[in-house]
């Protein structure tokens, strides 16, 4: 299911959370990066039909979200993992999934149970399927969250920061799982973690202050930092110009990597940028209008 967004606006009182977003999401795994408060969650809630936009137009798989019928058609084929999803503490994992499955309209008991069993295996929760959800760790809760999103074999999966706060191993497991399910679906993944996008998405968008400041292949983000990423080893203070992206202390001084449109120090040498440096370069561009 492809997503087409044009001129999307959403205002909360005085705050303009989205100020004219234009975005096209093809199939496969699509990353959505952005700073805190950039509007990622607002955009995803609108896609899930939870929030109404103040203006603009969104179609998902050809269904217009402005109409009731369109929203319902999208919801029927949507798997949504909200940011900070809570779970009913008094239900077991299996009961919770059964409940959500029924609410998704999976009325065939045998088929629903089979699907829940498969998903529990897939997210590695089969052993604790009969345990109450209270007392589940962050990683386990996130896995329950993704399992519920995948119930009903949705064509569009919207996941809002699913890897925040997970340990590296769990994070890698999780994003690999997402990439795996993106084989025959559209998966929209929002995150702050540039590495997650680098490892799983071919296409991505970057948001800042309610706008999309980049959209295209992930390599395009890296390109933004080409020619403006520098490395310098010094025992003196950090370079004053540009943004220091990394600083690694060593016996012969500190090795800085800096994103800066001008050479930050006579001793600085240009280097191949990483995705994170591309992201930083983009954010700098976005902060300087024009």
């Amino acid at each position: 299911m492809d997503i087409k967004i044009s001129g999307l606006r959403r205002r909360f009182g005085r705050v303009e959370a989205l100020c004219g977003v234009d975005l096209e999401v093809p199939g496969g795994m699509f990353g959505l990066l952005g700073t805190n408060g950039a509007g990622k969650t607002t955009l995803m809630r609108i896609l899930a039909g939870v929030l109404a936009p103040t203006g603009g137009r969104v179609t998902v798989g050809g269904h217009d979200l402005a109409t009731r019928a369109g929203r319902l058609a999208v919801r029927r084929r949507l798997g949504y993992l909200p940011q900070d999803l809570g779970l009913y503490p008094d239900l077991t994992t299996r009961e919770f999934l059964d409940y959500i499955g029924l609410l998704k309209g999976l009325d065939d008991d045998a088929a629903r149970r089979r699907q829940i069993g498969e998903l529990l295996d897939m997210v590695g929760l089969a052993d604790v399927a009969g345990r109450r959800l209270k007392g589940f760790s962050g990683g386990m809760r996130r896995r329950v969250g993704i399992a519920q999103a995948l119930l009903g074999d949705p064509a569009l999966v919207v996941v809002d920061e699913p890897t925040a706060g997970l340990d590296p191993e769990e994070r890698i497991r999780f994003r690999t799982l997402l990439a795996h399910i993106a084989g025959h679906r559209t998966v929209l993944l929002s995150t702050h973690i540039v590495e997650d996008v680098a490892q799983t998405c071919q296409e991505a968008a970057v948001m800042a202050a309610g706008r999309v400041v980049f959209t295209g292949p992930v390599t395009g983000i890296v390109d933004r930092a080409r020619g403006v990423t520098w490395e310098i080893v010094t025992q003196g203070p950090p370079p004053a110009a540009g943004v220091v992206v990394s600083a690694v202390g060593g016996p012969d001084g500190t090795r800085y990597r800096v994103v800066s449109p001008v050479r930050p120090d006579p001793a600085a040498v240009p280097v191949q940028p990483s995705l994170e440096e591309g992201y930083v370069a983009l954010m700098r561009e976005a902060a300087v209008p024009g």
């Binding site: 939870v50 029924l102 609410l103 998704k104 309209g105």
Partner: protein, 263 residues
């Protein structure tokens, strides 16, 4: 979508019945009022009293305090979806808000009724030991259905919906105050709903079961048109009015939930 309503109902029932505070409050309040019932309480009814009168009196006795506990334990059922962060997920599902609200209401009311019915059955068993009349058990169910259940249905609707507008703790305080003012404060002290058809304590149905004024039903006071003589018709009218009034807040629950999710 056939099973959406029944699914919400079933799972809300499960979650509510697993709530320890429901059992603790119901059993605790029932024990308290049993011990504190005084000479006019059902324990002191003479031997040979009709089973309907005995169980009607017990139901009314429990109805004085149990609904306070019911209101307290039901007050978080709708707002907690927002508090624990599941409201956004529910709003993104194809299930209709109306079905969610109706299922939550029906499921949580049914679960809350279970310990209430249970304590009334325990009272019937206690009476059975002395009186040996098996009809006591049948009347326990009947008395529960006409005295306690309509009040519970009424209280539950407000307990579910009001915390969407005011905070749940504030609702609990106001509700406890309302309960004593509108049900137990004699109508001759202050203008109050006590003794009217709108008292969820079940005064009219209990009066009908007992065959005389149970508490204050129909005593002269404020809003005299709501104070007919107790009897079968008045009891029925009281139950119907309570259920109709319960529908009122529920009608607002959907829009209030949606507004909260989308703000």
């Amino acid at each position: 979508m056939r099973s959406c309503l029944s699914a919400v109902c079933r799972y809300e029932f499960r979650m509510q019945i697993r709530k320890r505070s429901l059992w603790i409050s119901t059993i605790g309040l029932a024990a308290l009022i049993t011990v504190a019932q005084g000479d006019r309480g059902p324990r002191h009814l003479p031997a040979g009293t009709d089973a309907a009168v005995v169980m009607g009196s017990w139901a009314l006795l429990f109805s004085m305090l149990l609904p306070i506990g019911f209101g307290m334990v039901l007050a978080d059922r709708l707002v907690r979806d927002h508090r624990i962060g599941i409201a956004s997920l529910l709003a993104g599902l194809p299930a209709r808000t109306g079905a969610l609200v109706a299922g939550k209401y029906a499921g949580s009311v049914a679960a809350t009724a279970v310990p209430g019915l249970l304590v009334l059955c325990v009272a019937a068993a206690g009476e059975f030991v002395h009186r040996g009349d098996p009809a006591l058990f049948g009347w326990a169910f009947a008395a529960f259905a006409v005295v306690l259940l309509p009040g519970l249905a009424f209280v539950a609707a407000f307990a579910l919906v009001c915390p969407l507008v005011i905070s749940a703790p504030l609702f609990r305080v106001l509700f406890a105050g309302y309960w004593f003012w509108g049900n137990m404060l004699g109508p001759d002290y202050l203008p109050s709903l006590t003794g009217t058809l709108l008292t969820p304590i079940g005064d009219y149905p209990a009066s009908w079961l007992i065959g005389e004024r149970a508490l204050y039903a129909g005593e002269p006071g404020w809003l005299s048109f709501l104070r007919p003589e107790p009897g079968g018709g008045a009891a029925l009218l009281s139950v119907a009015l309570l259920i109709a009034l319960a529908a009122l807040p529920l009608a607002f629950a959907g829009p209030l939930t949606a507004r909260r999710t989308s703000s």
